[in-house]
């Protein structure tokens, strides 16, 4: 059974429709990342699910219950949906403990933070923060710590569904990785279904079981990371998910004939002129003459863990954007002549 199911959801602000019929299903306990450009409607989608925006059409179900659509409407506070906002949004007048305990039931004698001490400590532990931050105010925390407190606060009432809106985008690279990993562990331990919004492809792929690419208010493809990267449904998603070299050529059966020789083709293969997408890491550099074609290295960009070599075909056939990713210290030098070898099939799309 799916924890979240959206069908044909249309929503927007005033007369402007932002989501034009969105369908999505996240299974119970699953993690789905919503990936999209800035302004594509990711936050809008989360507002619809959490109940801060009424869809104009369509249906939203959470845990099998219709929370919006078909004349049904469940107020945000009754949905049991945890929401970590893009900006964290901690209550500035409450301590960390007060923030985390905010959504916990208040019994008669319960005083803010105190009564739920154990739960607060448990949650701090879950998000890997030391217990001594409990009495601090939000403005005495670093950005990454604030995000973790926001997560702990959302997890405290044990929601079945947690929505995360770019929770790591305000953090710098190192902190971002650490916070993301801590968040992933905390979510896994809580068993909550998770919907993560991000515009970072690497983050989406490393965090989620499934990726849903949102563009122009509708999902272009929903699939596991490997599929979406390796088998994108169109050229746009292919280049959105990572660096892609478009190559024009002719297809027949599962062969693709182009300037790089005869390559194995996969995807929607028609006969005739098509476009293939090649990933830079699919190109292997071998000794001259040993590959399918020879190329000259025109430029090398060094990244530490790998290098990218820009290439020009020796035959002189222009091929824009041809480049290979070379791992480790084996990078060639500018001016070297190398042989090219393509590993694995290339994705082919109708030209």
């Amino acid at each position: 059974m799916s924890e979240v199911r959206l069908s044909g959801v249309r929503a927007g602000y005033g007369d402007v429709e932002i989501l034009h019929g969105v369908d999505l299903a996240v299974p119970s306990g699953g993690t789905t990342a919503v990936l999209g450009d800035s302004g594509s409607g990711k936050t809008t989608l989360l507002k619809v699910i959490s109940g801060f925006l009424r869809p104009d059409a369509g249906q939203v179900q959470v845990g099998g219950r219709t929370v919006a659509g078909d004349d049904a409407w469940v107020a945000p506070e009754r949905r049991g949906v945890g929401y970590v906002r893009q900006d964290g949004g901690l209550f500035p007048h409450l301590s960390v403990a007060g923030n985390i305990a905010f959504g916990l039931p208040r019994t008669g004698i319960a005083r803010r933070g105190r009564a739920h001490r154990d739960r607060v400590l448990e949650l701090l532990d879950l998000v890997e923060l030391p217990a001594d931050v409990a009495e601090r105010r939000p403005d005495q925390l670093s950005g990454g710590q604030q995000q973790r407190v926001a997560l702990a606060r959302a997890l405290a009432p044990r929601p079945d569904l947690v929505l995360l809106d770019e929770p790591f985008s305000s953090l710098d690279t190192a902190l971002r990785t650490a916070t993301r990993e801590a968040t992933a562990r905390a979510l896994q331990a809580s068993g909550a279904t998770t919907l993560l919004v991000t515009h970072d492809q690497g983050e989406a792929m490393s965090f989620a079981d499934e990726i849903a690419v949102l563009r122009q208010g509708a999902f272009g493809q929903i699939a596991p990371p490997r599929t979406i990267y390796g088998e994108p449904v169109d050229a746009h998603i292919a280049s959105f998910m990572g660096e892609a070299i478009p190559i024009h050529g002719l297809a027949s059966h599962n062969q693709f004939r182009c300037a790089l020789g005869n390559l194995e083709a996969a995807g929607f293969v028609t006969r005739g002129a098509v476009v293939a997408i090649l990933r830079p890491e699919q190109l292997r550099l071998v000794a001259p003459g040993e590959g399918s074609v020879d190329a000259r290295v025109s430029r090398v960009t060094y990244f530490g863990h790998d290098s990218v070599a820009d290439l020009e075909l020796v035959s002189g056939t222009p091929l824009k954007g041809l480049r290979a990713r070379v791992v480790g210290p084996e990078a060639p030098a500018v001016g070297d002549t190398v042989g090219l070898w393509v590993v694995g099939p290339v994705r082919v799309f109708p030209g």
Binding site: D37, G51, E77, G89
Partner: protein, 546 residues
């Protein structure tokens, strides 16, 4: 102080932050990606809210309408005859001279003092910051009384300029100092690294950005001058406001008073227009946007002693003289009337003043709420219109508002003429902007994002209000209430016209004693007004440092 001083004051301080550091660049975004668009949701306001806000705005615009209608009710020829009399020209000239001399003087004094306190290594800057705001604790007409009682020859333009400058320069100091504190050191430092000296850097990078703060402060001074009654009456310097009150005292001629008030109204509009032009197209940034870096204070070196002496002289003239004179008359008075019959009287008057102040403060906060919620939660052209109307109507002199309310109540609801309700209404109209500004900053402290966060944690509407919005908004709302109450407790002009017979306030008691030249009898009321106003200084000081 009949003009909505600190409402606009705060607005000016906020506008003062205009040039503050811009939003931080999103470092984490890949170069090709656009930064996220952050827009406030513009939901349509509920009809109830919109109606309430409209009603309040209508109430504040009412005086203008009444005055204009009354002024136009007589035969047109007569009105024109009255307006082209030499007497009107004389009043105009008086008002003009006062403005031309006092406004620049307050700007020079305010900006200079703010720069010394906030940007140089002046000793004990915290103390000076307080002292530069201390004149606000002395009602201007009390200060005029002090000067007149020690130097009776000071009457006329000279005395008027002296007293008003000393009383009103903090209106410029406050927003400029607040802005100077929030400006980032960056631009000044870049100018210095390009070879411009410290003074040049100030003039070329900082001063231009002070423009909105300076013009906002100057606007406030100008509006106060147009509305000033107490000081000018004591200095026997006639302007429109004093003329209207005399006209009213001589025999209430509705049409003539309204004609004078119309001219005053036009002058106010003129001042507001000039200010809009002077402010320029400065961008208004939010206060406290990113801490930024404060520049190193400029070493004063051998200028330290002259600087301290100059500021000290200002404090001596603006605060020490009035306080010392009041204290001396207080001593004289106790020596004359040993029996101390005055004490009970003083307490009684203080009690009724505080009562009016509390009620008026509550009324202003209540009336300000719909507009503030509208502006904060449903911004849009309608909300802005409501705000503008409120501010415009409230920059009218107290005498205009009072006159209009009298006219209106006599002709429409005679029942409320000569009741405290009418007086409270006048206070609320006059000081509404203060309440609204405070309410808005309170609501801004509890943004809708936090309310939404609380709802997704299971709180319903009441829970959100009680556990998030109120605790966060309370400090500013309380501060706004106190500001209004303090302003009411020293209000003279509207009170003179509207107080029901038998109701005494500190300002009224003080005024009637000085009218009989009984300076000793006036002193206890003056002392009490100063004592009540001390918290004002503290509250306003927080606006600079927070």
């Amino acid at each position: 102080m009949s003009v909505s001083s600190s409402g606009t004051l705060r607005a000016a301080a906020a506008a003062g932050a205009a040039g503050g550091p811009g939003p931080e660049p999103d470092r984490q975004r890949a170069p090709g990606q656009r930064a996220p668009t952050r827009r406030r949701p513009r939901r349509p306001a509920s009809p109830v809210l919109a109606t309430l806000a409209t009603l309040v705005a209508a109430l504040t615009v009412l005086p203008v309408a009444v005055i204009l209608v009354r002024a136009g009710s007589g035969p047109p020829g007569e009105a024109l005859d009255y307006l082209v009399r030499p007497r009107i020209g004389e009043l105009l000239a008086h008002t003009g001279w006062l403005m031309v001399l006092t406004v620049p003087a307050t700007v020079v004094l305010g900006v200079g003092a703010a720069w010394l306190v906030e940007r140089t290594d002046l000793p004990v800057p915290g103390l000076w910051r307080t002292l530069m705001l201390a004149p606000l604790a002395v009602p201007a007409f009390v200060s005029a009384y002090a000067w007149i009682s020690v130097r009776p020859g000071l009457v006329g333009l000279g005395g008027a300029v002296l007293v008003t400058t000393l009383a009103y320069f903090p209106f410029v100091f406050l927003p400029v100092a607040a802005l100077l504190r929030t400006l980032d050191a960056g631009e000044e430092e870049i100018a210095r690294s390009l070879g411009v000296g410290p003074v040049g850097a100030f003039f070329r990078t900082v001063l231009p950005r002070l423009r909105p703060a300076v013009s906002g402060g100057a606007l406030l001074v100008a509006l106060h001058l147009l509305a000033e009654f107490g000081v000018l009456e004591m200095m026997r310097y006639q302007t429109f406001t004093t003329a209207i009150l005399q006209q009213y005292a001589v025999g209430f001629s509705d049409v003539r008073g309204s004609l004078l008030a119309t001219v005053l109204l036009v002058l106010c509009l003129l001042v507001l227009t000039v200010e809009v032009a002077a402010r320029g197209r400065a961008r208004v940034a939010r206060l406290g946007a990113g801490a930024g870096r404060r520049p190193l204070p400029l070493p004063l070196g051998r200028w330290t002693v002259p600087a301290v002496a100059a500021l000290g002289a200002v404090v001596a003239l603006a605060v020490v003289v009035p306080v010392a004179v009041v204290a001396r008359w207080l001593l004289v008075g106790t020596r004359i009337r040993v029996e101390g019959a005055g004490l009970g009287d003083l307490l009684l008057v203080t009690g009724s003043t505080v009562g009016l102040a509390v009620l008026g403060g509550l009324l202003a906060v209540a009336l300000g709420l719909p507009g503030a919620v509208l502006l904060d939660r449903h911004p849009g052209p309608f909300a802005v219109l409501v705000e503008r109307l409120t501010f415009l109507a409230s920059s009218l002199p107290g005498v205009v508002v009072a006159l209009a309310l009298i006219t209106l109540s006599i002709s429409l609801v005679p029942g409320i003429y000569q009741t405290a309700l009418l007086l409270l209404l006048a206070y609320a109209i006059l000081f509404l902007p203060r309440a609204m500004v405070a309410l808005r900053s309170g609501l801004a402290a509890a943004p809708p994002e936090l309310a939404e966060a609380a709802r997704s944690l299971g709180q319903n509407g009441a829970g959100v209000l009680g556990r998030v919005v109120l605790p966060l908004a309370a400090p500013s709302v309380l501060a706004g209430f106190v500001l209004v109450a303090l302003a009411i407790s020293t209000e003279l002009t509207a009170t003179l016209l509207l107080a029901p017979t038998g109701v005494e306030t500190l300002a009224l008691a003080f005024w009637s004693a000085t009218a009989e030249l009984d300076y000793a009898a006036a002193a206890p009321f003056a002392a009490m007004m100063i004592a009540l106003s001390v918290p004002l200084t503290v509250l306003l000081r927080r606006q600079i440092t927070s």
